[in-house]
Symmetry: C2
Subunit: 530 residues, 2 copies
Amino acid sequence: MATRSPTDTALRHLSPAGATRLLAGWHAGGPAYLALADALRAAVLAGTLAPLTRLPSERELASALGVSRTTTAAAYARLRELGFAVSRVGSGTVAVLPRGGFRTLAPRPVAGDAPAQDPRGTLPDGVRPGREGAAPAAAAGRAASAGRAASAGQAAALRTGSLGTGPDDLLDLAQATPAAPPALHDAFARALEALPAYLGTGGYAHFGIEPLREAIASRYRERGVPTTADQILVTTGAQQAITLLAQTFVGQRDPVVVESPTYYHAMEALRRAGGRLVGVPVGDVEQLESAVRQTRPRLVYLVPDFHNPTGASLDPDRRAAVRALADRYGVTVVGDETLTELAIDPAAAITDPFAGDGTSPHLVTVGSASKTFWGGLRVGWVRADVQVVARLARTRQSMDIATAVLEQLAVIELLGRREELLPGRLAGLRERRDTTVALLRDALPGWHVPTPPGGLCLWVDLGLPVAQAFTAAAGAEGVLVNAGPVFTPDGSARDRVRLTYTRTTEELALAVPALARAWDRVAGRGPAVR
Amino acid sequence: MATRSPTDTALRHLSPAGATRLLAGWHAGGPAYLALADALRAAVLAGTLAPLTRLPSERELASALGVSRTTTAAAYARLRELGFAVSRVGSGTVAVLPRGGFRTLAPRPVAGDAPAQDPRGTLPDGVRPGREGAAPAAAAGRAASAGRAASAGQAAALRTGSLGTGPDDLLDLAQATPAAPPALHDAFARALEALPAYLGTGGYAHFGIEPLREAIASRYRERGVPTTADQILVTTGAQQAITLLAQTFVGQRDPVVVESPTYYHAMEALRRAGGRLVGVPVGDVEQLESAVRQTRPRLVYLVPDFHNPTGASLDPDRRAAVRALADRYGVTVVGDETLTELAIDPAAAITDPFAGDGTSPHLVTVGSASKTFWGGLRVGWVRADVQVVARLARTRQSMDIATAVLEQLAVIELLGRREELLPGRLAGLRERRDTTVALLRDALPGWHVPTPPGGLCLWVDLGLPVAQAFTAAAGAEGVLVNAGPVFTPDGSARDRVRLTYTRTTEELALAVPALARAWDRVAGRGPAVR
């Protein structure tokens, strides 16, 4: 009788043609089988080849790449040695991430507390990038530990007596998660004072508690967008808002237009709903319109303000063009405003909100408290036409029912103190951005390192299409960054990496030299990472 | 140029054949067109006909039901009069719920506070049932207000000067949401003391914070199920856990076996993932095995303890048979333990946990703090094989990233005080259950009203297949209950309604006579509700 193991149930498949695209330019020199193994490993670490993907057979891959079967067999054997593949009867060769435990969010060490652990959130083997795409890079550290030795990551792991199974000192320039402002604790304390009034209720607010819906609506009005509370759906973070939009608007094989590059987990949510992603260059409204005209998408997803990962904001003319396009084609255009409040350069502040005059039923905006205040607060929202809000709420009830009440009360407090809290947060980000940019430009003069006016990350041009190999090498040096292809629907942007600037100067003083070493190994004097 | 309005993008369609099934036994007497309109309205109110569903054309429905087109035309006209349908060029006739605003979770009235509002959470027009399926019934109250007059619901609405657009006095026997225990506030206060240690982190714990994972694992160990923290994924409530399992295991048209009846929103989550639901009678392991053998489902979803809605628990032999079946067929069987701690009759306490000895990779359990403690706490969990946990976490990152940190800290407190808190909660539920059962048996001797040993609801046998009409009539009397078909994959159980017993004796003293009046109108002396 055929049985199915939990793992088998979700194997993806990589076609020979897909492998050819994925491995374009794989042969960086040295023995072919090692170069091929490196390219495949780099793809796994970069997140462009998902763990639990079944690879083409040795024969298929050999003919697809025009190499001998001996080469592909040796490459798969090497991948297995490194822990990046398993071969099983019936399943062929399956890409995996090396075994190891999980890193888990734990308290910062304080007297009498548990030992220090990694603060970045849990990143299991096989987990794709987190909100800010840390996982593949994080895995790189463990991968390095599992593979060749003598890396900062492994040294750290050895110090803590673990190889990816527990705490380590990997430096995270992949996830953009600033610490909380000091006022956050106080906001929760005030929220707790307001809580008793809700404890007599069942606690389910499928649209969000009314005072928060009103506070969010009033923030839109402050920004010049007429908005009523019944146009607001409170969600469990912006990511859930995007998932709700995807699950509500997008069906199997429906086209969805996104910017390329764009926010990784928006693509994942849209794909999970069945969407076929069509990428258009950031800020190119002409190509956006032609994509909409040709594919008639169910949804368009944009990050108009301090775009993730490029940092660009749409100018007023392009915003107007996008709004006109939404109404002309009757297509719902989602503007993700998660980063909108993070105008690091005051002159770059967003003065022309995506929703415009707020009257179009085709414009939907998504917002969040996670970047403006703290990621550990899981509160986001959608602003949309009342009927759209009702449909999203219907989907939402069988997704997670409602958002936690105390979290919502805390966000009311934080929104009320926004003008007091934000300047300090922005000043801190400005300092870290400028330090990161200066150190990178000094250490890696061959890179093009931009200075984004806002947001949380740098979209660096390496000048060479080796992003995956560099990401793997950086991981081996103990630094987490994300390869450009993670952020594109088609795996392009191989010459880009995304680095975040939420780390301290002390951390950067360790991370940047490590990145320079990794770069030397991938593009410079040393051999390609292996 | 064709444009698509946000509403058009998600219209469901009701086929003539589907209409025939849905309307079986629709002709309860009186003019055919009125009976047909009533049956359709009742289906909308019962949640068996989703708002925004496009109905068959008048001609199609007429031939499907074997009536004249005049009858179907008049029935649709009547539905439009009542506000339950709209007709639009291009969209034909679409079922809707009458316009009206949203009811929103708001503070209980206290001196100097906002006016009293409905405590049940927001239930917009068009929203399907909430966690405990309140929406269709809630809509019934508004529908009645929008439709015929002289109902308690409308009277209440008139007293508060609103017709479904704000506060009203509808009595909710549909949603099972007990108020929070007094200790909840204290648990949050203690959690707040532990929060500072996390504020220096990014706040994203994709698997949950380690102390909570350990606390949950230790609760399983207390129950006799060996469990390690890395087998636990903390989720944003049990509903998200079910959604994650559905999105991870179930693909388009994959068969999924569920009990019939079962928890409404589990069915919704499984359907959204593409699952084809196959129902088997509650507790019938033989039929369960034959369904598994014949359909080879991706997933089996069961509520083994104090089953929702029947209240039944699987006996030890059947549990053993289910475990053996999971391993024999290699099928993942999910046991939803959301209600497991709610053993109202101490003798009924669950002593044989669903996961058994905890060794099977095919058994997955889902748990929650929402019913044991409070619905406004949005924390649940999955216990599964480490590899399954890793796969769920990967899905989870693009669903909502992580669960709020303070919520998790509060649940650690509450789990630690479980033995102190639970007896009071169970005593309160026992009193309400017994009062509800006694009042119903006295007022409605023709019903079969069981006394479930645990859980939160009664699965009442009306003795007549008029559940939808009765639900509509009860709504018109201002009382919210759910029709049996809401809980079955095939719309059966027309002779059942689900009532919850989380209301006070005072509320019940109003609700039960109203239910008796509704029953008289549907099954007794009066005409069918119109």
